[in-house]
Symmetry: C2
DNA sequence: TAGTGGTCTAGACCACCCG
DNA sequence: GGGTGGTCTAGACCACTAT
């Protein structure tokens, strides 16, 4: 019956396998045939079948264990992927004009919560910045950022009136570790003023912390104008 | 000088390449040697080098084009990955007890915004549910959900007093398409009551819409108790 | 058109781990 | 112990695209 005419690419195999999962031909928790058997059915090789199954496993549909075989996950742990864009790109890709402005720039002693978060010495001096990002001249994002100048000495002379700290850091040095989190917060008077919002408005906020190997680099809090929505489809 | 002792695995190659990127041995926007050359340097094969570079490209470090070659991305488009967990698992994995309760269940005519979002006939009847999810008996999430019973006929008889609709749907039928979005919203009186919050509190909210092929299945709005934070590290 | 990455094949050895 | 997936090799053909 199974008239697999030609040899299939790993994409074809992925598609067929996914269909069988979704149509419950292979029910949740059940075991798939081994790679060798599938290679035979698809008149392909184990290498190709392996790539198809490996990618489906990465996408959260399958669980693979040596000797145990390949199993269909019952609760497909679907993974949502978000890009972590530069604000500039985010705005430009939405088809709007981007404008940047520096609000404040000064050296301060790191507040204790920041030292704790970054793992720096208490009271260590850091560069404190506040910036605004506009889309078509409307407030888009209010950014509050701390840069550990000990880790990034050149930051002390950078001209953040011209270029946003996020962008500058991206081209100045790489990072190896990144922590991102998202919360809903409430606009205080200052945030409200910058974002053309009212005090008390719900504000979508992102926090990013980056390290270069073990060295803390920067912490940023990004406050988005009311109505911001982060979306992904898969 | 380059005393590459043994043949390296694709993981080794990934590590070395990533180091060179991060140490600017290969600067942003610059071109890497071709796969053949790298295979020679690492005394490996093109297949293995290919896998290493392909994965680094998927992770957002490189851009690869036929003929053009492999280029280091200047603004590493880092990708954050979030799991899309069942509330139950999210709560249990945090070490808390999970409890579920059904608040409301009724058939209603779909409001027009929902028909538009899902692409269903106007006024089509859908199952409307409100539910609560508790962590250690404290309100964790208030869920509002619409299920297209035409697409999921068995939903009409499911006992949502016993099992949450998210969980039931996951085991009842697969989905092929998913849209997720995140916003900050403001607690109205009803939401505040359910979540032990005050009216006006900022609330982190997730919206999920799923389809089975072209068929709309469900739309859900999940309101998290104040203080909720979604975090990922990479 | 030439050079690069994209993919497949055929075979091999190995690591893991269930029974 | 033996079956499964994990990975590597060596070679080939092809698809795309910069020049």
């Amino acid at each position: 019956m199974a008239t697999t005419r030609e040899n299939m690419s790993f994409r074809d195999i992925k598609r067929v396998v996914l269909e069988r999962i979704q149509k419950r031909v292979w029910a949740p928790d059940s075991l798939l045939p081994s790679e060798v058997e599938l290679a035979e059915e698809f008149s392909s090789t184990r290498t190709t079948v392996n790539r198809a199954l490996r990618e489906l496993a990465e996408e959260g549909y399958l669980e693979r264990k040596r000797k145990a075989g390949t199993r269909v996950l019952n609760a497909p742990l679907r993974k949502a992927q978000f890009n972590i864009p530069q604000v500039r790109n985010e705005i430009i890709e939405a088809g709007n004009d981007y404008r940047y402005a520096l609000v404040t720039s000064q050296m301060i002693a790191a507040p204790s919560w920041l030292s704790a978060k970054l793992g720096t010495a208490p009271e260590q001096y850091v560069l404190y910045l506040e910036c605004m990002h506009f889309a078509d001249n409307a407030p888009f994002q209010y950014e509050v950022r701390w840069i550990v100048t000990d880790s990034v000495p050149t930051a002390a002379e950078a001209d953040f009136a011209t270029i946003g700290p996020g962008e500058w850091l991206a081209q100045e040095l790489p990072f190896t570790d990144l922590e991102v989190s998202f919360t809903a917060t409430q606009a205080d008077q200052r945030i409200a003023d910058f974002l053309d919002a009212r005090e008390g408005d719900p504000i979508f906020s992102t926090q990013r912390t980056t390290w270069l190997r073990t060295q803390p680099v920067t912490h940023a809090r990004l406050y988005f104008a009311p109505g911001y929505k982060m979306t992904t489809r898969l």
